[in-house]
């Protein structure tokens, strides 16, 4: 059951303040991810403070890096159920977890960050892994 929208509003705003496009419907997901070209990061947001509380600031830090995805989108697991389920169909080789992050190039997942790779780590440490993945997979595109 979704949390009270007022409770999760700050978590949504933390993403949109970074300029990340929030996808709240399956149609919005299809528009953003269907026939996707270039480089993209999709952040599966979560209310869980254990992991998402560090993943959001980690992403903010990583986006300060010189190499980064051309497109940024987010869905909110446990909140926007339809949109999250649809987004996960685009990275169906990976089991669902939240928070998590998928890096895509031309519609193909090139890197996936699972919840277990976020838990218990500092934003700086998570961001370091993310920027390394940006360099590895997106370096030539920027």
């Amino acid at each position: 059951m979704p949390y009270n929208p007022a409770l999760v509003a700050p978590m949504r705003e933390e993403m949109t303040r970074m300029g990340i496009q929030e996808l709240t419907t399956a149609a919005a997901v299809d528009a953003a991810l269907g026939d996707q070209r270039g480089t993209m990061l999709v952040f599966v947001n979560s209310v869980c403070g254990c992991a998402a509380g560090n993943a959001r600031p980690a992403l903010r830090l990583a986006l300060e890096h010189g190499v980064k995805p051309q497109q940024l989108a987010t869905v909110f697991a446990g909140q926007d159920l339809e949109a999250t389920a649809r987004a996960r169909q685009f990275f169906s080789d990976y089991q669902p977890s939240s928070p998590s992050m998928a890096l895509l190039r031309d519609g193909e997942v090139v890197h996936f960050v699972h919840r277990h790779q976020i838990e218990g780590r500092s934003p700086q440490s998570i961001a370091a892994d993310l920027t390394a993945a940006f360099d590895r997979h997106f370096g030539a595109a920027v």
Binding site: P57, D93, H116, Q117
Partner: protein, 92 residues
């Protein structure tokens, strides 16, 4: 600013762990709590020794592709627990 929702819980609360038992089963799942009944895991993948895939390969694949959930909630009796390690510390 980040938002923490789980104050006052077990140190492993919310962490995805590998729970090895003294028997043939290994469980991967999110540590929830521990009480008299044992260790409570959520969204649990189950590996049984002697199946097609070795325990090591099962853990490696789960670390890379995520955990396929076999059980939503599982309680492992304390005396069955041999070791609990965060999955993220095992090369995930």
């Amino acid at each position: 600013m980040s938002h923490v929702f789980h104050p006052g819980h077990h140190a492993l609360h919310g962490i995805t762990v590998v729970l090895e038992t003294h028997g043939a089963e290994t469980f991967l799942g999110r540590f929830d709590s521990e009480d008299e009944g044992g260790v409570h895991l959520l969204d649990v993948g189950v590996h049984e020794q002697g199946g097609g895939v070795s325990k090591e390969e099962y853990i490696r694949r789960s670390a890379k592709f995520g955990i396929r959930v076999d059980r939503k909630h599982l309680v492992v009796p304390k005396d069955a627990v041999a070791q609990i390690m965060p999955l993220g510390e095992l090369g995930g």
